[in-house]
Amino acid sequence: MTTPVLTAQGVSIEYRTTPVVRAVRDVSLTLHRGEILGLAGESGCGKTTFAYGLTRLLKSPAVLTSGEVVFHDRVGGDVDVAALDGDALRAFRWDKVSMVFQGAMNSLNPVITVRAQIDDVLTTHRPGMPRAERAERAAELLRLVGVDPGRLDSYAHQLSGGMRQRVMIAMALALNPQVMIMDEPTTALDVVVQREILREIMRLREQFGFAVVFITHDLPLLLEISDRIAVMLDGEIVELDTAENIYERPQHAYTQRLLESFPSLTGERGGFVRTGAPAGSPSTADITVEGTV
């Protein structure tokens, strides 16, 4: 399980606004086949921007100023994602790398049915596929994520938040991609529902073997599901290690601080809580750490 599927090398992304925002700075990352790579970091550290950069979805004023993204196809060889254009890029998207976005609530087109949106993917990428087969595939996809295929003819507003997110995941699976990028797919959901969906993702990953880049700022969640975790700070990856190592032996001060921000639910009540912090402390940097295990 250590063959790379996606390699990012020295990726930098800027927003060409005044002042220029250097959202991603020289990030290098290798995603291995079939692994779940967690990308953690605070709001605004550049997670989404980086994910968009991986799939060439950046829109003006964002510019990929330098770096290389290479996709190592299971069959065929390497693809320089940054050099793709036009039809080649369109063919690459979703087929090789699919995405589930932050706020799936708004990722579905409100005026066309779920079926039509899944169909869109199939007709675009599998032009020869007969109608009946497409219908069958759509139903199968919904079943995979635990949604009643009867919902295929529903519109987004007729689905609950959790269902919408599942539909999005189903759609992301439609072409059996090798990589799935999930940008905070569960933030807006209830913990219980979130749990179910995560479980679904994990199952599907086990079944289909795609690699996942899972983006969230919920570190405990990442610790539970990821194989490896990258911690991002101000556009840079400051630490990248297995989940275990990140939790047990965080190297970077920032990683430590992030961890401290999540008191353990079942563990000992952290000493810093309710006692440690003087009322005047404006940040958590000076919070004294006692064991959180």
Binding site: R199, R203, L223, L265, R269, R274, S281, I287
Partner: protein, 278 residues
């Protein structure tokens, strides 16, 4: 010492239009007591009625039935009674971006409650009080922060202003509806600690609403678990978290991510699949 007591609170909402009007019971027979110097946490999934309880306590909603007693006395609906009540009970909102008026300075947000509740009169006194409040929530130098507008501050700073505002009338009870869920992870604890600290120092009674079970456990003395408008379980925080009785509390706990249990979900799924295959 004081108490803020909720007795058999019921809140119905009308939903729908015209003929299809129906009632939705958002809060169903909820009772609890908030004591000075104590923190009660209200947890539960989305839509379980937590915010409705909070809003009813803040008198933003009128209860369908049930009572609210301040220091054992029912609160009447008259204007003066309301003002007196608001003097004692204040609220901190969830979204630090929405809870401050983008048009006004920090000073304005703090001056108004001071003036309204007659805490301070006269320019000088008010300014002094404002500075004092800002210092209490660690926004120093106070005069710099007083002149800022919300968009010039980070989420955590805004939430501190919101807390200061709640404290301004000299409130004894604070209703905090998910006060940190919109904040960046790294500053959440800072704000929570500030709240806890104030609570301790000023002997506040705090109703802490959250769906983060971990902080609920660590920051409160008592936890109430709400499910579909009802309180399904209550008890001292450690007891509820470590030894849940109600099935729903158990589900909730099982769903909550816990750094201490890293890799759990992955392993569970693998085990499951292996079981299926077998």
């Amino acid at each position: 010492m004081g108490t803020l007591e909720v007795r058999n609170l019921v809140k119905d909402f009308r939903v729908g239009h015209g003929f299809r009007r129906s009632r939705l019971r958002a809060v169903d027979d909820v009772s609890f007591t908030l004591e000075a110097g104590k923190t009660v946490a209200l947890v539960g999934e989305s839509g379980s009625g937590k915010s409705t309880v909070a809003r009813t306590l803040a008198r933003l909603e009128t209860p369908t039935s049930g009572e609210i007693l301040l220091d054992g006395r029912p609160v009447s609906g008259s204007r003066t009674a309301m003002r007196a009540y608001r003097h004692d009970v204040q609220m901190v909102f969830q979204d630090p971006f929405a809870s401050l008026n983008p048009f006004h300075t920090v000073a304005h947000h703090l001056e108004r409650p001071l003036e309204l509740h007659g805490v301070a009169r006269g320019r000088g006194a008010v300014a002094e009080q404002v500075a004092g409040l800002l210092e209490r929530v660690s926004l120093t130098p106070a005069d710099v922060y007083a002149a800022k507008r919300p968009h010039e501050m980070s989420g955590g700073q805004r939430q501190r202003v919101a807390i200061a505002r709640a404290l301004a009338p000299g409130a004894r009870f604070l209703v905090a509806d998910e006060p940190v869920s919109m904040l960046d992870v790294s500053i959440r604890l800072g704000v929570l600690n500030l709240l806890a600290c104030l609570q301790r120092e000023e002997n506040l009674g705090v109703l802490y609403i959250t769906h983060d079970l971990a902080t609920a456990r660590h920051f409160s003395d008592e936890i109430l678990v709400m499910y579909r408008g009802q309180v399904v379980e209550r008890g001292p925080s450690d007891q509820v978290i470590l030894d849940p009785q109600h099935a729903y509390t158990k589900t909730l706990l099982a769903a909550a991510p816990d750094p201490a249990r890293h890799g759990r979900l992955r392993d569970e799924v693998r085990a499951e699949l292996a079981g299926e295959r077998a």
